[in-house]
Amino acid sequence: MSLAEFTDQWLSAIAPQISEGSGWLTDLRQGAVEQFATLGLPHARLENWKYTDVKALAKRQFSLPNGQADAVTLIKESSLGLDGIRLVFVDGIFSEQASTLNSLPQGVQVLPLAKNANAAKPLLGQVAAANFSGFTALNLAGWQDGVLIDLAANARLEQPVYLQFVATEQENPVLVQPRILIKAGTYAEATVVEHYAGADDAASLTNAVTEVELADGANITHYKLQQESSKQYHIASMHVQQQRDSRFTSHNVCLGGKLARQDIQVELNGEGAEVNLNGLYLGNARQHLDNHTLVNHNAPHTNSHEDYKGILNDRSRGVFNGRAVVHKNAQKIEAHQSNANLLLSDKAEIDTKPELEIYADDVKCSHGSTTGQLDENALFALRSRGLGEEMARGLLTLAFANEVIDRIEIPAVHDRIEDAVAGRLPEKFNLKGLV
């Protein structure tokens, strides 16, 4: 059945459960179903979806995940080893058994969403507009589980919150729709790691939405590591609203999926707000990896820095669109964007478009994109020490990725990502055992 049919049926199936004492949620979902009916799946005529074709999804059969699959080994093997505050989701459904939620400091709540939907009422759907895209509407209509991370004013989480999403192999592809909500009060600080991995033959559609709200002076670091199977569709959007002097840092590493699309939308609403967007995508085979970011400078003295790097091999295709909009009266802002790509094969492709739209006059902005070659001098220097040409190219390719990876501040995550990237580079580079 089609996604629309599927959503209708699914909504009517769960409607009785959620309507009990939670009328607001049913209304919210019902409204989103209507939005989805209007928007449908994004199509190539939409500027934002010009390069990414999701038609194939409309023809796919989907069923609902039940979260009951035996995933003990998968969970263990894919874990990043961040065990302090860890929420595990099997096919998008919270697994209490696999999760650890002890010793939260005062003022910090980390709640699985399905069981605590009412607590999410003030935030759910407030930052991410249902009509951002058909997928956002679909998620609001049919999210199954997720998390609410609520930080009171001045609350500080030393340990990262590790959200581990594991996709299992299912007879019929399942539609997994997580919702992640992060609310940071004044001067609150936390790090959140969103990690998607799964079985080699998992072929589901992940459609995730993350909403982040930062009050004055709040500081949130968000990691997203996507390493789903090469048969998975991974669609995700993250929506961030920042008040005065808040700081948001995103590290977005996209390695998996047959087709992956990540949107990041940031609203800088208060003076002194700052956002840093770091991204890395690495495509092999016929992977299609699309990253769209949008930063709205709605207030003066706001800063944005974006650095995305892509490595594309075989017949993979990358899409990058980074848009920064400086609105009228948003003076004294800084907006910098860069996107650099390495194409490792003649058949790989990148469509890159950094965009600046400026309606104020006192601003410092820069943007640029490059599709580059490796540094010939560095190549010579490495070969002059006896390294074969391919290995030298491999090390320099990894070095290119490391410019993004080295900004990752959690050592365990840094090392895992470096390993994962090295492991996905072409075998001829012969980096195994070296890195």
Partner: protein, 250 residues
């Protein structure tokens, strides 16, 4: 060890080396000196295998093999290592990766197994200590943000670990203060061995106070115009190059 015969090299159709001859025997330390533009850097570049240099005639053999037929990495694996005048910064490639990969490549060439991690680290730590370098350096990117002295020490560290048969040091003394020069020289001197040759290309006599060569050659206008023992360096220091060039012209 190294035999350069009647070597003529052009860069962008301009002849830089004009029939150069040089023989380096095992165990010898040679210094090649000369004024700017004499062709010193071109000689290093051709021996190392850099692109953009056209050998129009002559030959270079290394241990009897035709060096000019060898790829850059083959030269290194065969035991010829160039110490760069301007060591290249390679952001994102950690020193430890480079050292490990280089040593493995050499050992594979010699038919030896890779060193186990503990042995490798022991070797590297020992050499680091000798070069008075901190071990945190291993996890820094190759030469990135290094001072001039640190870069040159790094070149010698690589030599100490890779133990080449022939070390070709291109202006290894440039940009060094006296303390760094001492450390670098101690490193080079520790490499001196009956089976190993060292060639220093330098502009300054100062280096030769610390690494005393067996032979000195004066390179001018693409040819070696005079060779002598270490006393030649003192004469050059005192009298400059002009008298040698005049003498050769006669």
């Amino acid at each position: 060890m190294l035999e350069v015969k009647d070597l003529r090299v052009s860069v962008e159709d301009k002849e830089i080396l004009k029939g150069l001859n040089l023989t380096i025997n095992p165990g010898e330390v040679h210094a090649i000196m000369g004024p700017n533009g004499a062709g010193k850097s071109t000689l290093s570049a051709v021996i190392a295998g850099r692109d953009g240099y056209e050998v129009t005639s002559g030959s270079i053999t290394f241990e009897g093999e035709d060096l000019l037929e060898m790829d850059i990495e083959e030269r290194a694996r065969a035991g010829l290592l160039l110490g760069f005048q301007y060591p290249v910064e390679i952001p994102g490639v950690k020193n430890v990766y480079l050292l490990k990969a280089a040593l493995n490549a050499k050992r594979e060439h010699l038919g030896l197994p890779e060193l186990e991690a503990p042995e490798f680290m022991k070797l590297v730590r020992e050499k680091l200590q000798f070069m008075k370098m901190d071990s945190s350096f291993l996890h820094r990117s190759v030469n990135e943000g290094f001072s001039g002295g640190e870069k040159k020490r790094n070149e010698i560290l690589q030599m100490l670990i890779l133990e080449p048969k022939l070390a070709l040091l291109d202006e290894i003394d440039s940009g060094l203060d006296i303390d760094a020069l001492k450390i670098v020289s101690e490193g080079v001197n520790s490499l001196r061995d009956a089976g190993r040759s060292i060639v220093m290309v330098t502009h300054y006599q100062r280096l030769l106070d610390y690494i005393v060569p067996d032979h000195i050659h004066v390179l001018s206008d693409g040819k070696i115009i005079k060779s002598g023992d270490k006393s030649l360096a003192f004469e050059l220091e005192k009298r400059g190059y002009d008298w040698v060039i005049e003498e050769a012209a006669q």
